[in-house]
Subunit: 346 residues, 2 copies
Amino acid sequence: MRMKTNTKTVRISIIGFGYVGAGVAEVIRRKREEIARKYGLNTKIVCIADLNGIFIDENGLNEAELLKLKTGDMNWEKPEDMTTLDVIKDVEHEVMVETTPTNVVNGEPGLTHIITALESGRHVVTSNKGPLALEYSRLMKLAAERGKELKFEATVGGAMPIISLLRENLAGNGILSIQGILNGTCNYILTRMAEEGLPYEHVLKEAQELGLAEAEPSKDVTGIDTAVKLVILANSVFNLNATYKDVEVAGIAEITPDALKLADDAGYVIKLIGEVDRKGCLKVRPRLVPKDDPLNVSGTLNVATIKTDLAGDITVIGKGAGPIEAASAILSDIISIYNTSSGGDL
Amino acid sequence: MRMKTNTKTVRISIIGFGYVGAGVAEVIRRKREEIARKYGLNTKIVCIADLNGIFIDENGLNEAELLKLKTGDMNWEKPEDMTTLDVIKDVEHEVMVETTPTNVVNGEPGLTHIITALESGRHVVTSNKGPLALEYSRLMKLAAERGKELKFEATVGGAMPIISLLRENLAGNGILSIQGILNGTCNYILTRMAEEGLPYEHVLKEAQELGLAEAEPSKDVTGIDTAVKLVILANSVFNLNATYKDVEVAGIAEITPDALKLADDAGYVIKLIGEVDRKGCLKVRPRLVPKDDPLNVSGTLNVATIKTDLAGDITVIGKGAGPIEAASAILSDIISIYNTSSGGDL
């Protein structure tokens, strides 16, 4: 293992302090020493901004303060003369973590947060799908102009490292197409329907009771969430300038236990598959998947199969959701900004 | 996409010109323009050395010459006064690609090739498992001292990008353990035995006829090949100093169709699994795998499931063998030496 001898201070803001933002604070608390030791990065959370208010500590939150965040027990201030954008612009820091909720209509408030951070010379790491699904090219161009990184592993597949896998590990390959299950809620519903022979409405209700589907589940079950993630994949890998409106979308609400049974008898499962090829054809739809295909993963798992010109098919499977999982992707992105490919033994 | 404006010349030697070495020459031929365009790397193969002889062209082989290599139609020279080690030392180049056959007894000739290249100030990219399974720590220490990279994605899982995934993409995570199917021959045999109810000897013969098993298959079927790969994973991820002799190994020759049938009835398959945890416990043995586990992949596929502290389980699946697949991993390694994490849009 290469130990880092010079330590670099990385000051971080967290904009949006819901489950994922709080998860980021928590994983930084847990991993602080390890990150310092392995990567030579002294991570400090210097500001948090949320609808609740603003928290600034230019020395960085200490262990005790980070623990308090877990319980929500923090001294939010609601300064009348300071907005979230002021925090992004005026508090000195290197990396803005943007974890406000996804909005696929106009991308706000995340879009303005990201633009402001890049224009203020900050790297950006985000879990917010909206800005990337709507304004990918514009944001990447701005990041390049400012010489800053804009990283977004957490937007697709949660903890499943699909973006970095495509952009880095397979560098010697041309990517021909990507197919995947990018929504854990739909996969849970279809898995349970197939296993138990239960109708859609029944399993949806069960998923809602278990917290695996939202009370208003339409973004998931109509395929829109999958479409948004597919667009982010497509733009980042195929250099497209697509938005989620370019995707042909069908959801899972019409699938019956009978259809799943027929598929089963023939050696197939039905999965909601997002797919994109290098020509820019973007589709989300229920598809028959052979049972022994690597795309056949069950429960809330996400999966993507990448067709390459040299390496054949590469499949990656992981947990698609969860605040700690998303936070781990954000943390990996932060580390990768400062580490070249050869940096990190674990 | 970021186009590279400055082009850097990367002169490459290929030491060992069997299937994999020839595959490297072929993928560089196919991808040369693309690599220049995307990564700003002007790749030149300036020397090839093999038991057949030595080929040197300090200007780099051109397209026509690279095509000739495919057909074996090249003007090997057998200079009496120049050895392979002289080529490594004396021909100016940046990256040595070491693709001689694996030798797990003493690692030679690969071990000496790698040491010589690092001492001569060359980066090393290798598909040769022997040197890394026997002398991992020594080689990484030498590379670090000389400020050179030693990359080895092709040694484990062929085109499946397991090494870089573990070392880079999951940087924010602690790795708890790795379990995987790392030998495609064994996986093919067990898959066919289970599907057809055929005995081991029958399927082994079939695999040999199809070129999926070697005439002398003992390294594969006894689990030694899996053990060697496991040691490379373990050392590179857990910073161990293990050799393949530290692995508890059992192979697949004793597995009967009856055992596979019993497993099937209970919802399982039997797979040859290599596993290592952070405490350094290394095992290769046939194991029951639930049919819906991501480790249940069929045919010649390889798979690894990585247990992490934050992201949960991440699984990667890919083709474990094939000269072009291995060459694609070597090419990705070469590119990664010159590209930081943000380098490559594809």
